[in-house]
Subunit: 199 residues, 2 copies
Amino acid sequence: MSFFPSALDRLVEKFASLPGIGMKSAQRLAFHMLSLSDDAANDFAAAIVEAKKKVHYCRICQNLTDEDECLICRSPHREKGVVCVVADPKDVAAIERAREYNGRYHVLHGVISPLNHIGPDDIKIKELVERVADGGIDEIIMATNPDTEGETTAKYISRLLKPFGVKVTRLAYGIPMGASLEFADDATLMRAIEGRQEI
Amino acid sequence: MSFFPSALDRLVEKFASLPGIGMKSAQRLAFHMLSLSDDAANDFAAAIVEAKKKVHYCRICQNLTDEDECLICRSPHREKGVVCVVADPKDVAAIERAREYNGRYHVLHGVISPLNHIGPDDIKIKELVERVADGGIDEIIMATNPDTEGETTAKYISRLLKPFGVKVTRLAYGIPMGASLEFADDATLMRAIEGRQEI
């Protein structure tokens, strides 16, 4: 039996259904919500509804946007011939923060993962192939994570795109900046040696 | 500059404003919200609005309820003469879980805390004094937490209630069940010895 009114129980349940939020945290969050002013609580609810209603995928790159095409795809200053393929919108934000890349993106919204029943048709690969088939793209930079699933996805896509004669590259692997060799793992060191460059 | 649509940024901000949620968690929660179905997201928003609208304080004990009087105050099976004073609705739930107490409650919604600028008028003390003044109450059990602020609040309230000739008691202090003496702190051991009882 619960000792809270049912409307509060329902809110606790909702919070507990979020990833990484347990029952205790959900309770704390629900109580916090009740302690807010009416306006602040309604604002919170409206932000959820609005984000869900307004945010969708960019027609071209599948990144999140509230317009038909995202800011990057609309920008006249970005190279149209280079497309960086990432698994997640958060990866776009990470690469943009580095201020080094000036091409466009393609967001897959996932990686191929047979263990989780995610096949090539479950992520935005078809849309990428169509973009390449439409022409005007010289280079595809695969920027999925350097783990098994990311690698598999990168390999799979590069094989799909080869027939179009487009250059497919992969982000460099190596020692991260500021790290010490001593603590680098074997796999990273191996890749760093393989990928050594003349200075 | 943010790389997400503004509606998404706003949702991330809202989540980040919750207690114990940092920017990274807020981002994860916002993305999770976008990944829900329209119905599920709207349900979540509605749960917030509804809880905020329906849940208020019980007219008698100030506990959270969605009716005029809470379940416990309405119950004919609970002793009307005993009132357990707690700081927080969560404490009511904790005591109810113990299935030992059969009186009513009074929820203060906080404790006196000069450091946080919370004085006696900022919590539900006036309502408690009115209840006692109305008569019919024989015993007040102070069940605030055994820390400085909880103690101060208990002392303050017991002094206020003395003139009404009501008996004011305090929860017993001692070694928690299942704990080992070896690891009990000095203050707890001292209280346990002071409060020893014949068996």
